[in-house]
């Protein structure tokens, strides 16, 4: 069964830039609050800590971001923005129970788009796709209509969740709405491409990906599409592009995750893939990193270890197709079934 799962990416840069713009009628920077005032020096440090945490999240330095955000909380505890940073960091590090608690605190302090979006993602991670859709609908409804980029982001995520449910037409409506709101929104374009592919319109999907020049993910998607169409030469050209671009991305993202998965899926550089997957796992234990390591172990013949690791990848009850496919293959391997 073909399913599509998208995940995504950082708008922390947006938040950073937004902090640079003074908000007029809503009282300036939203830096949170405390029952009693703090001296000016602490307030300055608090703002600096928040900004630092945002930057660290953007740079995928999740452990550092968590520490910085927690340090900010030693000064003030009821800033829902910082609870959002903590939620994000915990999700990426794979501490889901703590992430759920942090997200609940965030939404209790201030139920609005940014907190609803986190609720949605956590529900999705825990296999509750319908709940994820409902929460993201709330996020879309509550989104700032003047923040076109943010609104486009929420609509795109809603489209992604709808696509996860197999609701292609509804998903495409959201991607189109996102693109109407913010022209050429990168994630919305990708979503639209995947929706077109899911609808069987490979030609349209290819056309969209071709517009995304310089995108590693678009190159990978094109490679897969050309493979499906039987054009191995064109596919390999795109795969080469992907590898080149993704090697650069990996440095920025501090993760070889996508390159690892590509190598594993195409049976390339298997030992190197395993070494890098282990390194990624040392830094973070989210279910997708666990899945990559499980797959790497499996492809390198270490079946028992792969079985243990895939169980870890399934610990939240995710319905992610890739993870569940891997689990099926790993757990049905003759080496295990003989045991």
């Amino acid at each position: 069964m073909k399913t599509l799962k998208i995940t995504f990416l950082s708008l922390a840069a947006v938040a950073l830039l937004a902090f640079a713009f003074a908000r007029i009628s809503q009282g300036g920077l939203d830096t949170g609050n405390a029952p009693s005032p703090t001296p000016a020096a602490e307030a300055d440090n608090y703002n600096a800590l928040k900004l630092r945490a945002k930057r660290e999240l953007t740079e995928h330095r999740f452990a550092e971001a968590l520490e910085t955000a927690r340090k900010a909380q030693t000064i003030r505890t009821d800033d829902h923005d910082v609870w959002g940073q903590i939620t994000d960091a915990l999700v990426e590090l794979g501490d889901y129970p703590a992430a759920v608690k942090a997200a609940q605190t965030m939404v209790d302090l201030r139920p609005e788009s940014s907190s609803f979006a986190r609720v949605s993602y956590l529900r999705s991670l825990h296999g509750d796709t319908k709940g994820a859709i409902d929460a993201m609908v709330l996020a879309v409804k509550a989104a700032n209509p003047k923040d076109r980029e943010g609104l486009a982001w929420y609509r795109t995520q809603l489209g992604n969740e709808l696509l996860n449910e197999g609701k292609i037409r509804d998903a495409e409506r959201e991607f189109d709405a996102a693109l109407a709101t913010f022209r050429d929104h990168a994630l919305a374009l990708e979503g639209k491409a995947r929706a077109r592919k899911a609808a069987g319109d490979l030609k349209a999907a290819i056309a969209i990906y071709k517009r995304q020049i310089g995108s590693a993910d678009a190159a990978l998607a094109l490679g897969d599409l050309y493979t499906e169409l039987g054009d191995a030469t064109a596919a390999e050209a795109e795969y080469q592009k992907f590898e080149t671009l993704e090697r650069e991305n990996a440095v920025v993202e501090r993760s070889w995750h996508h390159l690892i998965n590509f190598w594993l899926d195409h049976d390339r550089n298997l030992p190197e893939a395993l070494a890098l997957a282990k390194r990624d796992y040392e830094a973070r234990k989210d279910i997708f990193t666990c899945d990559s390591l499980a797959w790497a172990l499996f492809k390198n013949g270490r079946i028992s270890e792969a079985r243990q690791m895939i169980a870890e990848a399934l610990r939240t009850g995710t319905t992610d197709a890739r993870i569940n496919n891997h689990a099926r293959l790993i757990n049905s391997h003759p080496q295990i079934t003989q045991n």
């Binding site: 947006v14 713009f21 945002k54 709330l138």
Partner: protein
């Protein structure tokens, strides 16, 4: 608001950090999964953030027995905000609270809940869509000629509930299924906007009052650039500031109710110093909490929990100019009953220090009991304003609310400077749509009022932002705020708000 440069920077960053997962075959999906998904942490929530609250004795002819309360949301609306334009949020609870006992706790509540209908969900357009033309049953122009027009594609209806918390009951629905007018989109889409659409959205209530909810012109006039450029006001005393809100619209809820529905006695007060003459008003917005994870598989996915107050607003400019940055969220979540925690910012306001530094003027020393009276307790009967003026409503503790003495009639010669202009019917006795609250607040904080005689001298009592009127005329009838700016104006450059001039200064 992000500018174009910021958008390009962010877009590039997005491309770098982009992650995609594809599943192409039933066997071995060959793409990567999640890396880092981080939703926006920008917390502007204009759909729920209050911008202004007004309360005044109605001045429309024949309406002297009524009080009008207006509350605004969704500021700085660019009129050409298509395709969906600006609507209230269906998931938000909008409320107006009234305290008539002085303890900072609401005694009367008016609740407003909205619901959007989508007539043609397949339209690529939003609020307005040529549904009839597409069916061959109507023309493109004029498009929307009534509130029930089939081409008004996304109308909102709303319900008004009045609650008396003391009864412990859920409240009485005093109006339901009322329609909001569409935004003022343009001459082709919403022609004759004021008469054909906006006025038709003014409904009568069973108590003889009126209600309206929808887009209006932004009536709050202020030189934001000057004020927030560290008080680089265009001038002190002269009229050459730039109205930064000119050309923008806002969403308004307006309700007019009989005086007796608001007072603690349930009657019309005998006079301005009667114990039931003063009420305190503030507007509140709340959103419902939700559970992160469902508790059981049988639980509805969208289990909405208790409401969380996310915004409140009584007197103008308190959250902007008095409450420090790090406490603004706390203020928004708080109630007037909890006002003591913010008292120090009124008794010793930073703004006074800034005005002194900016202009080298002497300001009254702390504690500023004069400001406490204006913003937190109301002004008691005193020798300055005489025996027939008071806005005092307090149990002895500070409660920030917009206070109105309902027994003081509208002024025959209103002054935009309200009390400071000798007009007892103006701010800080309530707030009318045309009151120049910026100049009044600046002068009050600078000590340029009769309540602080030592500093009631120039320039303290002439300071201002140089903007003395709105850019669009106010109405002389309910809902008093002007016709919203057209989304497709033919008058000059509709998008260059700085070329829009204010009307002649109000007296």
């Amino acid at each position: 608001m992000r500018n174009a440069l910021a958008g390009r920077i962010v877009f590039s960053f997005l491309l770098i950090a982009l992650i995609l997962t594809l599943t192409l075959s039933p066997n071995i999906p060959n793409s990567s999964a999640s890396s880092h998904r981080e939703a926006p942490l920008i917390t502007a929530d204009p759909l729920a953030d209050n911008t202004d609250t007004y309360v005044f004795r109605s001045t429309e002819s024949g309406r002297s027995g009524f009080v009008t309360i207006i509350a605004n949301w969704i500021p700085f609306q660019e009129p050409s905000g298509g395709p969906h334009f600006y609507k209230f949020d269906d998931t938000v609870l909008y409320e107006i609270y009234i305290d008539n006992t002085g303890d900072g706790v609401e005694d009367v509540i008016y609740q407003f809940r909205f619901k959007t209908k989508f007539k043609n969900g397949n339209s690529i357009l939003g609020m307005a869509a040529p549904n009839q033309a597409l069916k061959g049953t109507g023309s493109l122009e004029p498009l929307i000629t009534s509130l029930n027009d089939p081409d008004y594609n996304e109308p909102q209806t709303y319900t008004v509930t009045r609650i008396d918390p003391h009864t412990g009951k859920a409240g009485v629905v005093i109006a339901k299924d009322l329609l909001t007018p569409p935004n003022n989109i343009g001459e082709r889409t919403t022609p004759n906007y004021e008469t054909a659409l906006a006025q038709k959205a003014v409904y009568s209530l069973p108590n003889g009052g009126k209600v309206f909810a929808g887009q209006r012109d932004e009536g709050f006039y202020i030189d934001v650039g000057g004020v927030f450029d560290t008080l680089k006001l265009k001038s002190i005393g002269a009229i050459d500031g730039v109205d930064s809100t000119a050309g923008f619209n806002v969403n308004t809820i307006a309700i007019e109710v009989p005086i007796k529905e608001l007072t603690r006695s349930g009657a019309v007060p005998a006079g301005p110093t009667a114990p039931d003459a003063v009420i305190g008003v503030w507007s509140v917005t709340s959103r419902q909490k939700i559970s992160v994870l469902r508790q059981s598989i049988f639980e509805e996915p969208l289990t909405l929990g208790p409401s969380q107050q996310v915004s409140r607003l009584g007197s103008p400019l308190v959250n902007e100019l008095v409450i420090p940055l790090n406490l603004k969220d706390a203020f928004n979540r708080s109630r007037p009953a909890d006002g003591s925690q913010f008292a120090q910012f009124v008794t010793n306001p930073q703004l006074a220090v800034l005005l002194s530094a900016a202009y080298g003027i002497n300001v009254p020393p702390a504690p500023r009991n004069d400001l406490v009276a204006i913003f937190a307790t109301g002004i008691p009967v005193n020798s300055v304003t005489g025996p027939n003026f008071t806005t005092f409503l307090s149990d002895g503790k500070p409660h920030e609310m917009l206070r109105l003495n309902v027994a003081i009639p509208p002024s025959a010669s209103p002054s935009r400077l309200g009390l400071l202009g000798g007009d007892f019917a103006g701010f800080p006795n309530g707030r009318r749509v045309f009151d120049d609250v910026v100049d009044i607040a600046l002068r009050a904080v600078a000590g340029g009022t009769p309540f602080t005689p030592a500093t009631n001298i120039s320039p303290n009592n002439t300071i201002g932002d140089g903007v003395a009127n709105n850019d669009v005329p106010f109405l002389t009838r309910f809902p008093y705020l002007g016709t919203p700016q057209s989304g497709n104006s033919t008058l000059g450059s509709p998008h260059d708000h700085h070329t829009i001039n204010a009307l002649p200064a109000l007296p």
